[in-house]
Amino acid sequence: MESEHTITRLPKKAAVFSHQGVMPLEEKLRILTDAAKYDVACTSSGVERRGDGAHMGSAAACGICHTFAGDGRCVSLLKILLTNVCVFDCKYCINRASNDVPRAAFTPEEVVRLTLEFYRRNYIEGLFLSSGVIESPAHTMELLYRTLFLLREQYHFQGYIHVKAIPGAPPELIDLVGHLADRMSVNLELPTGEGLRQMAPHKTRKTILRPMRQIQQGIQEQRLELADCHGRYCPDRRADVGFKRRFVPAGQSTQMIIGATPESDFQIMKVAESLYQGYELKRVFYSAYVDVNHQLPQLTDSLLRETGGADGFYEKRGMASPPLLREHRLYQADWLLRYYGFAADELLSEEKPNFNVLIDPKCEWALRHLEQFPVEVNRADYYTLLRVPGLGVRSARRIVAARKHGKLEFADLRRMGVVLKRAQYFLTCQGKMLYATKIEEDFITRQLVADGRTELPPVEDGITFRQMSLFDDRSFFAEPDVESERSAAYGQL
């Protein structure tokens, strides 16, 4: 293990094991849920698997949300750590070695029991298992493997399993685990190697990217093995190539922390783009930095000094609490990369490295490219329609299908569920716009911002985040848009 020489001590390990058998399950669950909650992903999507007719479990490709926590996040999986004992000392993490927090460890059997009994009562869609690094990455990965092995081989559990690959674990173990899990993820932690060096002294970019590459190659190899002579996926070949389960069928994902280090939105989007293209990730998750270790003042100082200063980066962003709106804009842009055919370079540039607070990235793009608008609903192709603010994948598809039956009017669009609030400024139906509006940047921007504001909800108690307060920041509440709401409702956030 290359990280072993950095291990200085094994914190609270003795305490954990003296508790074994004494600490009640409920207390362990509380500690290890609390320690896992900052992980973003809780999706159960990406794999469709009918039950086997005898044992418990199935998986739905769209994912299923089982409840929603008080922070509005979907709860789909039992998201816990196997243990929060950790030999690493990452500054952003609540479980860092030098923190004095209660430590606990589940046995694999306990995790299995919780998963099966929760699943039976339809509380969850499956298990999301992560872990602090106990003793060594290899030992930790082995414990994760043992847990998954019990679930899949002894109890024949068919539900969804998402498991973390621990950076620095042996490739053989990652391979074994990959054949039991549905999704695997390796946390990128911070958008750049520089940030990682600052915040996570025991991790390097290399140890993170290596398992990510390995999982990608595993998926690719299997794709070739399972393809017929035309390159099409052919599940019948599974028996020929000699394995029971597919390797990481729901693909891999990663997450990075936003706002702890001074990267711009542009840098972050470039990183995400290269992960989608170079590593074929299913999802990149962004996690607004929650300052659990009260590190920010020191961090800001040292980081800014070392990176040559970012001109009051944090002051501008008023980093008193998680930068939720920024996170929201990044998710919107992420959607544009994955489903709308945008490239990061189209959305942002070195000169304009951050997203606007007041309007979403797609509107922002459209306002800078007004020469391409308005678009004629009855003629524009699918990809052009997708670029119209306010039109999503579903709306664009419906328009393309419906116009075969006759010319479309705005009334038709309304009936088919197209929301015209933003789209009206960018569309014509048979040459006419909905209202006599000017295709003029200032005018449309004013309208979009005003529309956004009238519909902004009152600020709830306890929500005090603010970021780049240009005007009255009460109205900058990040309300989920249609896509985010849908995605959240179907467990894809």
Binding site: A54, H66, L114, R121, R415, G417, I463, P480
Partner: protein, 254 residues
Amino acid sequence: MDSCKLVLICEDSFDSIMTAVYDGWRYRNQGRVVELTVGQPFDADLFSEYQTVAADLEKAVKVAASIRKKISERAHIAVYQAAMHFAPDRAQAIFLFLTLAYQKGGSIMDDYGNPHVARLLALSRKVSNETHLFRGFVRFHDVSGVLVSRIEPKCNVLPLLGDDFADRFPGEHWAIYDERRKLAAIHPAGGEWGLVSQIQADPALSEQLEREGDYEKLWKTFFNTIEIESRRNPRCQRTMLPNWYRKNMTEFRT
């Protein structure tokens, strides 16, 4: 009387609505103006003729088969889902859609701008969304080895839910009880699931469903701990999980 509007009153079941479609289609071809309605109308008008339709399985099967053959399987599913909606005009919406679709064929499903198609799809989408949500929101209680759940859905989702749960829990005895409709989906371990109507729940059931066992407690612990306080957002939570769903959910019981 031949020139006045004929209102066909059907019961709240797919078979009954299909039977009314069958009869309605015949009357319509005789030149009558036909309207379908589910349940006794509150405002019967003086100049219409009212006729009650009893479910006739033979007619219902014929209509269903003709939808699949002459329109499409997708239309059949959409019509079935729309019939599970609670809107009083669901039968009429289905009838209007079908009269149009029988002429135009399967491609009609893409004509999203057509008011009759749009109405039918809106009804079916609502039912399909609610069904999807209940796949996650159903909560089972272990009552001496039998998994029992009570739900109060707005749409009649139970007929659409059964297959998914039977697929997921093939080895369990389970029952989901729709309290509004006094309807239950019942599945014996290793067997087929089926619907049982007009169920009168045992008064002791409520008490049993509220009793908190070890795993109910553990689940509440998990649910209350997983929230990040600094991101607290009850408004978003309410959007995603409206209050009326929470009544029968373990984690929202105090």
